[in-house]
């Protein structure tokens, strides 16, 4: 409560600080202008590079199969019809795909966030005997080329009776991820220990500190993890294909590649599907990205 007020004061102060440069902006030096131009030129160039290849996807998604194969990839479609989008969504069974992907995504992300944050807290705030070897295990795990151990992994999943269940993919998502732990550790290091101490003095237990002091400060890494590893899970194709082939367990990426057959591939429909699949996560990214700025800094002081 007290902190809250403190914070507000600081915000006002910060705004005041912000206003000073605004005045400065009125007289740019030549050097400043040069850097400014360079900065925007650089950003525009990078944006063009990311956008140009994707133009093919957008244009292609509106073409018919024959039109696509006859014309230049940059030719505009004859009509901007959403037929391919309809085909991809309905014939591809994407609704069901979204349901399964959604379930996998939510459970996996919840698991990653809770286990990851707890683990990072224990490792960052306490010393214990096996800490070093355990951290080494996590680093090492990121280096194992997973694709090469596919047969072995399959036997383990099957041995646990998880084959053709949604849990196979969820557990694999949880068991082969070390990046989120590193992201949490990175942020935890920036949270001053004095916060913990203050809470200790007030008689809080370590559990309470984790839940009430640490967790609320980990919003930024949580959003980062949701976006970064969420995209990986969301687009994952090989694991669902191998471990949950049942029709009712179809995910969006396997739904998408139903249009890629051994003897023929309907690229326009796949491209439409790619956009359908991309949209929700792009919206999520755009709405959530601003929380990435609100790192620990805001609430710490």
């Amino acid at each position: 409560m007290n902190q809250n007020e403190n914070r507000r004061e600081k915000e006002i102060a910060a705004q005041a600080v912000d206003e000073i440069p605004v005045n400065k902006h009125k007289h740019y030096t030549a050097g400043q202008i040069f850097w400014k131009v360079l900065k925007y030129a650089f950003l525009i160039l990078v944006s063009l590079c990311t956008l140009i290849p994707i133009v093919v996807v957008v244009l292609g998604s509106f073409k018919t199969q024959a039109e696509f194969l006859h014309g230049n990839v940059f030719a505009l479609p004859k009509s901007w019809s959403f037929e391919n989008y309809k085909t991809a969504f309905i014939d591809g069974g994407m609704l069901e795909g979204f349901r399964n992907t959604g379930f996998i995504l939510i459970v996996s992300m919840l698991g990653k966030i809770f286990f990851g944050a707890m683990f990072a807290y224990a490792v960052n705030r306490f010393d214990f005997k096996l800490k070093k070897p355990i951290m080494t295990l996590f680093l090492l795990a990121m280096l194992i080329p997973a694709i090469a151990s596919q047969v072995a992994t399959f036997q383990i999943i099957n041995g646990m009776g998880l084959f053709d269940t949604i849990w196979s993919v969820i557990l694999l998502n949880l068991g082969t991820d070390a990046m989120s732990i590193y992201i949490f550790l990175q942020y935890l290091r920036e949270i001053p220990y004095s916060l913990d101490e203050a809470a200790l003095l007030e008689g809080a237990t370590y559990f309470q500190i984790f839940r009430k002091v640490i967790m609320p400060l980990l919003k930024a890494p949580i959003v980062t993890i949701i976006i970064i590893s969420g995209v990986g899970i969301y687009n994952d194709f090989y694991n669902p294909l191998l471990y949950m082939p049942d029709d009712s367990l179809k995910v969006i990426s396997t739904a998408l590649y139903a249009f890629k057959g051994p003897y023929g591939t309907n690229w326009p429909v796949i491209l439409a599907g790619v956009i359908i699949v991309m949209l929700p996560i792009l919206i999520l990214f755009l709405t959530c990205q601003k929380y990435i700025y609100n790192g620990v800094s805001g609430a710490v002081k």
Binding site: I134, F138, L139, L174, E190, F207, F285
Partner: protein, 296 residues
């Protein structure tokens, strides 16, 4: 009962113990079962001639390792990793630069960030397809070069052996720069903005701010990314796999491993290849860690 809870509340040593065990056991267990158990199994296979499907296999000792290490056909593909390594340095530098530039005041920050990150959202198989169109004869890239009257630069980007590995590595850069960017950007944001304000007042220039404030803040995540990039280069696989399937001199060690396991049905040999790769990666990582530690 009440007092037991009270006791627990003040017994911080006990709490600490419980937390350490309780908070680490699940991730460690998952890691052991799904990352290390397959590894142990793979080591077992690597000493056999198992084809990956048959009911029986024979113990062959170190034969598979001998084959991998003595046959230059298996080792020489590592030179393809150099292309990925060169491009990975560029990728990390670019991601870092973008993260720094976008951390300062800029118009339309969300737009730029969205554009930088968005290639990472595109589904992998679609990327293979998009860039095939990008590099093919009279494709996207050639059209652009023609537009700028740079016709003389045009090559068979994926056909010509002097460009094809660069072309594939650049595709990988296109795809993953946003990922590195987001990690760096997020880490930079974890720094208290007041520190910058203070630095500004002390007259520190932007480079000094970067060198003494930003970089230390993202040091850990940066080092992890460097290590992952190096190991990623050695085990580069997905982009060449979807684009050329390793044809025309673009094969990497992991593509070769997959082919050995699934096209030629030598899972024992393929497991040995994977183990050799892992050992090489570990050695390189240890050297890297030692090198960065000495500098401090």
């Amino acid at each position: 009962m009440q007092s037991a809870i009270e006791k627990f509340k003040t017994n911080y040593r006990l709490q600490r113990r419980i937390i350490v065990v309780l908070f680490t056991i699940v991730p460690v267990a998952l890691l052991l079962v799904f990352s290390y158990l397959p590894l142990v199994k793979m080591i077992q296979y690597s000493f056999t001639d198992w084809d990956g499907i048959s009911a029986n296999s024979h113990f062959v000792g170190l034969q598979n390792y001998k084959t991998v290490l003595t046959n230059p056909q298996y080792i020489q593909v590592f030179k393809v990793s150099l292309y990925y390594f060169a491009v990975a340095i560029l990728q990390l530098a670019l991601a870092m630069l973008l993260a720094v530039v976008l951390s300062y005041k800029v118009k339309f920050p969300n737009l730029w960030k969205g554009l930088v990150f968005f290639p990472y959202l595109v589904n992998g198989v679609a990327i293979g397809f998009i860039f095939l169109y990008f590099y093919k004869q009279n494709g996207t890239l050639d059209t652009i070069l023609n537009f700028f009257h740079l016709d003389s630069w045009i090559k068979l980007w994926l056909g010509n052996r002097s460009t094809n590995n660069w072309a594939i590595a650049m595709t990988s850069l296109w795809r993953y720069t946003g990922y590195n960017f987001l990690l760096f950007f997020g880490a930079i944001q974890s720094v208290d903005p007041e520190i910058y304000e203070a630095a500004d007042m002390d007259g520190a220039n932007k480079w000094q701010q970067f060198r003494y404030i930003m970089f230390p803040a993202i040091r850990e995540i940066f080092l992890v990314n460097v290590i992952l990039s190096v190991s990623g280069c050695l085990s580069a696989f997905d982009t060449p796999y979807i684009m050329t399937n390793g044809a025309n001199g673009t094969s990497t060690f992991v593509i070769q491993t997959i082919n050995t396991a699934f096209k030629f049905n030598k899972l024992g040999l393929a497991s040995a290849m994977a183990i050799v790769l892992l050992i090489i990666i570990i050695i390189v990582t240890v050297i890297q860690r030692l090198a960065t530690r000495e500098k401090d």
